[in-house]
């Protein structure tokens, strides 16, 4: 494998990590607000809190990793995307800021208020929507270069079927992934009333995920036929993704193997996400940025990869410890330990 491929694979893997952990978090925000409105909060608030409190900050680092990493490996992305993303990027920053800080104020600080819960729930859906526009823009067609100046066409973005279908898919997937995870977590915690509720959410949001993916395929074909061609070349990956989807839903339907079911969800999204990524290459921004022409210099690339491997040596044991203490520790998950430790 050449360095370019190593670089993009590393980055894509972290974005995949963000997709999973952030979806759990975003969706949990929405469900938590929903349960608040339907007066079921006492049933599920506990499991949501117990999982989220120790890990929310780690989630954010996945995103930063991707941003810093992509500019490190492909410095020209800053130039092309910088202009285009100024407004949508700033919207995402503001939403992330509101969400992160009010979550912390609410959880560690003073008693909860409905307005915090609302902000937490609403941003949970708006952030994936605004972040997903990056993928839309990367398909090309929304950026024009005139006299060396980059122009971004907002109206085109707002009027395109493709861009709205991606937003829809992002939101639905977030709810699906999150509900599937909460099902697994509630089962592990042996919290039957909560399990009852989140299992139903998981089933409700499963079919729309597939339906929205189909719309996205359809509109990609309209928007960028060349890319669609690459997707069909990789159709086996999307077929695998679908099979794992069926397996995951089957287990939840039959009320068994919740752990395995969530692993199936992760594999389902891995196939779809890497399949989409692979079909997108070599372009990072169609047709201006390609990963071969706009790679950083050799010595920096080698340095970054060495730093990455060293970093992983530290990171993997630490993440493992975190999961062991909070995710796979039965006593903690069941709430037999006081979560605040105080």
């Amino acid at each position: 494998m050449n360095l370019e491929v190593v670089g993009i694979t590393v980055l894509w893997t972290f974005l995949y990590g963000y997709l999973i952990v952030a979806s759990i978090d975003f969706g949990a925000g929405f469900f938590s607000y929903y349960s608040y409105r339907t007066r079921k909060e006492h049933v599920i608030q506990n499991i949501i809190k117990r999982y989220l409190s120790p890990v929310w900050e780690v989630t954010n680092v996945f995103l930063i990793f991707f941003i810093v990493g992509i500019v490190g490996f492909f410095p020209d992305t800053a130039y092309y995307y910088g202009t285009a993303l100024l407004v949508p990027g700033s919207v995402a920053i503001i939403l992330l800021a509101i969400r992160g800080s009010y979550y912390a104020f609410n959880t560690y600080g003073i008693k909860s208020r409905e307005i915090y819960a609302f902000l937490y729930g609403a941003t949970g859906l708006l952030i994936p929507a605004s972040l997903s526009t990056v993928l839309t823009i990367s398909e090309g067609g929304y950026i024009e270069i005139q006299n060396g100046k980059i122009l971004f066409q907002y109206n085109k973005l707002f009027l395109s079927l493709y861009s709205w279908s991606v937003v829809l898919l992002a939101i639905v997937s977030v709810l699906y992934i999150s509900a599937m995870f909460l099902t697994f977590y509630a089962a592990k915690a042996n919290d039957l009333p909560a399990l009852e509720i989140v299992r139903r959410w998981a089933l409700i949001w499963s079919a729309p995920t597939i339906f929205c993916s189909l719309i996205v395929f359809y509109s990609i074909n309209l928007h960028n036929p060349g890319h669609y061609q690459h997707i069909t070349d990789l159709s086996w990956m999307f077929a695998c993704s679908f099979l794992f989807f069926l397996a995951a839903v089957y287990f939840v339907w039959k009320k068994k193997n919740y752990g395995l079911s969530f692993i199936c969800v992760m594999v389902q999204f891995a196939f779809a996400f890497y399949g989409y990524g692979a079909s997108h290459l070599p372009y990072l921004l169609y047709p201006y940025l390609s990963m071969y022409e706009h790679f950083t210099n050799q010595s920096m690339a080698v340095a970054l990869i060495i730093a990455f491997l060293t970093g992983l040596l530290l990171l993997i044991p630490s993440l493992f410890l975190l999961m062991k203490l909070f995710l796979f520790n039965i006593r903690y998950v069941r709430g037999q330990m006081h979560p605040k430790g105080e």
């Binding site: 409190s53 100024l86 503001i94 104020f105 630490s318 909070f326």
Partner: protein, 446 residues
């Protein structure tokens, strides 16, 4: 022209986010050190008061971390969104430390989660071990980002041929002549500021008539620490001046209103600059600038007249330099008085006047941080990459930056106020006296 100039707005927005982030970043770097110190004292002396300090500070700390994380995320995005031209060149040379910083964040975030939620799951000595990665992670994130900033001040480790960057040596770019003084000054001043902020809050409680021994223990510990950090900040600040004299003489000269190159140069404090570059009402300390620059009263210091007129930084940074150094003097003498009174048992270290001076020291220290950064960053102007790229060339061409400035200003004001309110409420509703009573009750039950 001004009304719609993306460069001006980009600078304004970037400065705004920095000025906000640096408050939380400074706390983020310094507080873990003090938490570690308190927990360690608690273990050594078997004194629950110190352990309680560590617990209480951790609870406040997570709140400020949250704001640090979100403002830092904003910075990470804005740096790319507002300076796309700069990042595409500099990214080639300086990607490495930025990338490593993220691992430091990961490390810190993971262990902070563990530390916070495992007080009762491990024995004290084991639990103490979990704060160490937090301390290391926080200080390393400051280390790496400051290395990036050092590179902007003293770029090296690459060549530019026909506008294309080549022959990059990542390690040489990462460790520049600016790094040693910059990194150490930033770290120590963050420790100093954090110690003073905590000392200030304890002094405030004592002033308000609380007299629990807990507050006095907090005050003793943090002020002794502040004393050590203040002296270190002072010494390293002096070394930073020597670095500037050698590598960025225009920054030093602009900060000191030093126009003619000469030996036996005086240091000017305060004053007003006339149109003809004469200093009025200032206080001249003979030879002091020569000492700051080279450690020798006879040495020669380069003046601003030796630089092209369009490469001279704004002259108002003189005041921010004076303010930083002035506050530095204050922050050294107050702990000194306290420590002297404590050791020689002369006078009362807890007298009202001294306590009030300590309370003021907390916010002053934070102002010193801001002034220091403004001096360092504005003093680099007009360069964004000294000697290679001017700030003008680095900026975005987008036309929406003005609106964004207003939006972000509102965001930071709201976040800042909410954060302060949450912290005040949190510590007021749950006083150390109450917590200690509760602890005693629990241990009586056992």
């Amino acid at each position: 022209m001004f009304a719609n100039d993306p460069v001006i707005y980009s600078r304004a927005l970037m400065s705004l986010t920095f000025v906000f982030h640096i408050i939380f970043a400074t706390i983020g770097v310094g507080i873990p050190v003090l938490i570690a110190l308190a927990e360690w004292m608690g273990i050594c002396r078997n004194d629950p008061h110190y352990t309680l300090m560590a617990r209480r500070w951790t609870r406040g700390y997570v709140i400020t971390v949250a704001v640090g994380v979100v403002s830092g995320t904003a910075l990470g995005l804005q740096i790319n969104l507002l300076w796309p031209n700069f990042m595409r060149i500099a990214g080639q040379a300086i990607g490495l430390p930025m990338f490593m910083e993220i691992f430091a964040f990961f490390f810190e975030a993971i262990f902070l989660g563990i530390y916070m939620y495992t007080w009762d799951r491990f024995k004290p000595k084991i639990h103490f071990l979990f704060i160490i990665p937090v301390v290391i992670g926080a200080s390393c994130s400051a280390l790496f980002i400051t290395l990036v900033n050092s590179f902007m001040n003293a770029p090296q480790g690459f060549e530019i041929v026909d506008g294309i960057i080549g022959n990059v040596q990542p390690l040489k770019a990462m460790f520049t002549p600016a790094s040693p003084t910059k990194v150490s000054h930033v770290l120590v001043s963050a420790y100093l500021t954090s110690a003073f902020i905590i000392a200030g809050s304890a002094a405030y409680a004592l002033l308000k008539g609380k007299h629990h021994i807990y507050y006095k223990k907090v005050l003793n510990m943090t002020l002794f620490a502040a004393f050590v950090f203040a002296i270190a900040t002072f010494l390293i600040g002096d070394l930073s001046g020597k670095y500037l004299a050698k590598y960025q003489p225009e920054k030093l000269a602009a900060g000191e209103w030093h126009f003619e190159t000469m030996s036996h140069a005086p240091l000017i404090v305060g004053g007003i600059l006339t149109e003809t570059h004469e200093v009025k009402y200032g206080w001249k300390i003979p030879f002091a600038l020569s000492v700051l620059a080279h450690g020798n009263p006879k040495s020669e210091v380069k003046g601003l007249n030796d630089f092209p007129a369009d490469e001279i930084p704004p002259l108002w940074i003189h005041y921010t330099f004076d303010a930083m150094v002035g506050i530095g003097g204050y922050l050294t003498s107050i702990p000194l008085l306290f420590v002297l009174a404590f050791w020689f048992r002369k006078g009362n270290p807890y007298n009202k006047l001294l306590l009030a001076a300590i309370v003021i020291g907390g916010p002053l220290a934070m102002f010193a941080i801001e002034y220091g950064w403004i001096y360092a960053e504005v003093g680099r102007q007009p360069w964004i990459l000294r000697g290679y790229m001017k700030t003008q060339q680095g900026a975005t061409t987008s036309e929406h930056v003005g609106l964004l400035f207003v939006v972000f200003l509102a965001l930071y004001v709201i976040l800042g106020i909410s954060c302060l309110r949450v912290l005040v409420k949190m510590f007021k509703n749950n006083t150390p006296e109450d917590e200690l009573k509760l602890q005693n009750k629990e241990s009586a039950l056992k």
